[in-house]
């Protein structure tokens, strides 16, 4: 019974559409849960900049406020371990997701970011048997997720040797930055067959190719609505084919249910893996329909969904 338990969300960044969707999903699902009397409170907290220190201070304050569980999307996998340990010591359940923490006392809902990189090359090798030159758009330097996806992509290139990465830029997961960086490097590159990405940067890359007057290569998309809309446009115009992959912002709701289950005394394994959300050519229309204009393709979890994930199904 968790009806007088309080859960907090500690989020470290709110400055892009993915995070906004995540907060919205949290809001939608937890409000209902509170209304249904499942938990007493589920308050979201967010800091302004992607900063470990701010988030650490935030979590410390959440400890003081007496929450029973804290759900964390962490700015750093290791640097919050100190404060996570403090929370655990205070008897608080800590569940991390998306940006997970490595402190053993916490639960982790991990996305296999490495695989997210690797599948892009698997897909490309299917599409282009002869391989070719690739442009890689990375995220923010020095951040865990960027490093993981990059490793996956490198692995994929190692496996599919017909591909070669001829250029690599940091797009910081932002449309404008990606566009700017790609436009800069493009003139110096030979023909590019494909663009591997990390999400939030595909549309910017497409714009840059168009502006440079280059043929549009196969760009892996990242589930943003504008990316899907662009893809649809191209598909209708010239049968453009690609795929789109990213983690669903609704994973925050999964983390919520997991925390609730743990509070409820259920046995939950410390490490859970959620699949990333992949959109293929066939699913495009459907996904586009269900995605809010300007938002991100999403999956929200119900309690039943969450129980299924926990049961490992």
């Amino acid at each position: 019974d968790t009806k007088d338990k309080k859960i907090a969300l500690s989020n470290n960044y709110a400055g892009n559409s993915w995070r906004q969707s995540m907060l919205k999903s949290w809001d939608k699902v937890t409000k209902q849960a509170v209304a249904d009397g499942i938990v007493a409170a589920a308050d979201p907290f967010t800091t302004s900049e992607n900063q470990v220190t701010e988030q650490a201070a935030q979590i410390q304050n959440l400890i003081l406020q007496g929450y029973n569980a804290i759900v964390i999307n962490a700015a750093s996998p290791d640097a919050l371990n100190g404060v996570v340990k403090q929370a655990c010591d205070a008897g608080i359940i800590v569940v991390s997701f998306d940006g997970i923490v490595t402190e053993p006392c916490a639960w982790r809902i991990a996305v296999d970011f490495k695989k997210m990189g690797a599948v892009q090359l698997d897909y490309l090798s299917e599409k282009m048997k002869d391989g070719g030159n690739l442009l890689e758009i990375r995220g923010l330097a020095g951040v865990f997720v960027d490093d993981e996806i990059h490793k996956g992509i490198e692995e994929g290139v190692g496996k599919h040797t017909q591909f070669k990465i001829v250029g690599s830029v940091h797009g910081d997961w932002a449309q404008e930055v990606a566009q700017k960086a790609v436009a800069g490097i493009l003139p110096s590159l030979p023909e590019v067959k494909g663009v591997v990405t990390q999400g939030g940067d595909g549309y910017g890359a497409a714009q840059a190719f168009k502006a440079a007057g280059r043929p549009t290569p196969l760009i892996i998309m990242g589930n943003r609505q504008d990316e899907l809309a662009w893809w649809k446009e191209q598909k209708d115009a010239n049968g453009y084919e690609t795929m789109s992959v990213s983690i669903a912002p609704g994973v925050s709701t999964l983390a919520f249910w997991v925390a609730q289950m743990i509070l409820d005394g259920k046995e939950v394994p410390k490490d859970l893996v959620v699949p990333f959300l992949q959109i293929n050519q066939a699913d495009l229309e459907k996904s586009l329909e269900t995605t809010e204009k300007g938002g991100v393709a999403n999956v929200e979890y119900s309690k039943a969904d969450a129980e299924k994930v926990v049961a490992g199904k």
Binding site: N11, A14, L23, D43, P44, F45, T46, T47, S48, E49, N50, Q51, V52, T53, E54, A56, A57, Q58, Q60, N61, L62, I63, L64, Q65, G66, A75, S76, P77, D78, A79, L80, N81, G82, V83, K85, Q86, A141, G142, V143, F144, D146, D147, E148
Partner: protein, 313 residues
Amino acid sequence: MSALTLNRKTLRALLPLASLALVLAATFYAQPRTMSYFGLNLMLQYAVPIALATIAQMFIITVNDLDLSIGPFVGLVGCIGATYLHDTPALGILALLLCIGAYAAMAALIHLRNLPSIVVTLGASFIWLGIAVMILPSPGGKAPDWLKAIMALQVPLIPFPIIAALLIALLVHIGLMTSSYGVIMRGTGGNPRAMARAGWSELRTKMAMYALAGFFGVLSGLSLIGLTTSADAHIADRYTLYAIAGVILGGGEFVGGRVSPFGAVIGALTLTLAGSFLIFMRISPDWQIGAQGAILIIVLALRALISAGEARR
């Protein structure tokens, strides 16, 4: 006239303290649980590295410069601390000494070529970040145990962060505000030409002040990873602005060598507490970022209120 000035001066000196008291009272009111040894300890822990970084910034501001690189520098120190200092202490100490030396070299460059400090330190911030990313491409590392032990120190009666903050302020106050060499340092900020006319080398003073800033930056980085237990290149990016805000909140002025170590430390504490207060306020996530701005404004507006009577000068 003299009684009036004195009055105005004491008022101005007490201003930071008043802001702190106000924010503290508000925090206690919003969350009575913070009014305990445990609560204060938890809430103020992260103020220690910020206070040290603020002192570092204060040294630079004393000689009329501004350091835009202190945040990334603290991050770099953190990365060195969690790697070299942990694995091969001798190498780690050497690296940290080099860091301090780099600060002094920066002062020499700025002075000899008569460069604006803002640009040089802006450039330096990229260099620190770059080196940090190379040392620690993705977050991790381990803080030396002795650092963790120091930062987890439990002192009876008064929480450790408060003692540490007071100690830092007192030491710097003696060095800068009351010692005969401190006079030379501050004089260089007040009227560098007069100091040169009296035969003091501005180059040496500046190098000393920058080296001190580097030293306190090192202390800040080390105390930070003592708390977080691991490092991240971006761990302290925000410290640059925090440190500037802390100095100003503490009654320092950007030009003219008017600074106050106690004020700076109090400023850092105020900023940290203000952050906590906001979290206790449970504002909607949309406005949580904005509220940080609002609270800065409110605290600083106090200054205007008190100095309202003080005519244009």
